[in-house]
Symmetry: C2
Subunit: 154 residues, 2 copies
DNA sequence: GTGGATGCAAAGAATTTGCAACCAA
DNA sequence: TTGGTTGCAAATTCTTTGCATCCAC
């Protein structure tokens, strides 16, 4: 265990995620722990490829990242976020507040929006006969920095 | 011009879309018209691949569908919708009411939800300095049919 | 006539899968 | 011990691109 452990070692969110893994009868392996740490450390939606980069020191295969993230999503440890260009990113959600994102369509910067008036609407969907209702809401726009210069840099 | 024209021939939404194409200085070509008709006919989010199937009689290349849809999205003729599995679908939006979807995570059935309380939230995003603000909201759940039988058929 | 659009094929990116070796429980 | 997990490589799937031809304007 080395350089990047200082941030998430003994992180309660990590422990909680590991507990969820265990409860779902999945094994706590070294790649999974590394991926979870990378997710927690990143704080926000992150690309599969970027996760792979972050855990490369741990020698974790890209295919393993895909497989683990798929498992995490099923269990509810991460959620999938959609970017305007159609790509998917994943965000660690255990122990976090429900929120949504504002994504700059120019520089891809992601901000959180803590207000959520949508949860109430889930009842409407439920009343239509749906179960396991969830929702996904993303805001897109051009951020202030990108409006000023056309460079696209934040 | 043949079998499937009966539905969308002289459709005002088609005319409006063609006008938007023209105004954006794009040419009105036979593949584009065919793709627009397929989109209008389908009524709802549709996969690129499925569009290609629908216009195959018109001999339109898959690459052309990708290129046209990209142009349509930029112009605002279609909008991208996200499915829980991460795939993108596209929906014809010209002359239609703003709405959101309820997507069954089991059978992928799509229903419309005409209520939208989110538009008001765009102001919050705007107040944060963003311009060209838009949002994307999707609901996911297991529909009644899929709850009853485990087959996944609607 | 001319530049944008298309078809075709090939490249490139993203994601999945088969299988032997490995290791957490 | 043993079945879930991983690494590796190959296969798929998805999407983009180069270029000669074509056609909408």
């Amino acid at each position: 265990m080395s350089t990047d452990d200082h941030i998430t070692e003994n992180d309660p969110r990590l422990d909680q995620a590991l507990a969820m893994l265990h409860q779902a009868r999945h094994r706590v392996t070294q790649p999974r722990v590394a991926i979870l740490k990378a997710l927690i450390e990143h704080e926000g939606p992150i690309k599969i490829e970027d996760i792979h980069q972050k855990v490369e020191a741990h020698n974790c295969d890209l295919a393993t990242v895909y497989r683990c993230i798929a498992a995490f999503e099923k269990i509810g440890i991460v959620r999938r976020c959609f970017f305007p260009d159609g790509s998917s990113l994943f965000e660690f959600v255990v122990g976090g507040e429900h929120h949504h994102h504002i994504i700059c369509t120019s520089c891809q910067k992601v901000e959180n929006l803590d207000v959520c008036v949508v949860a109430g609407l889930e009842r409407l969907v439920h009343d239509r006969g749906y179960s396991n209702v969830s929702h996904m809401l993303e805001f897109f726009g051009t951020c202030e920095d990108c409006s000023e210069d056309r460079s696209g840099n934040p």
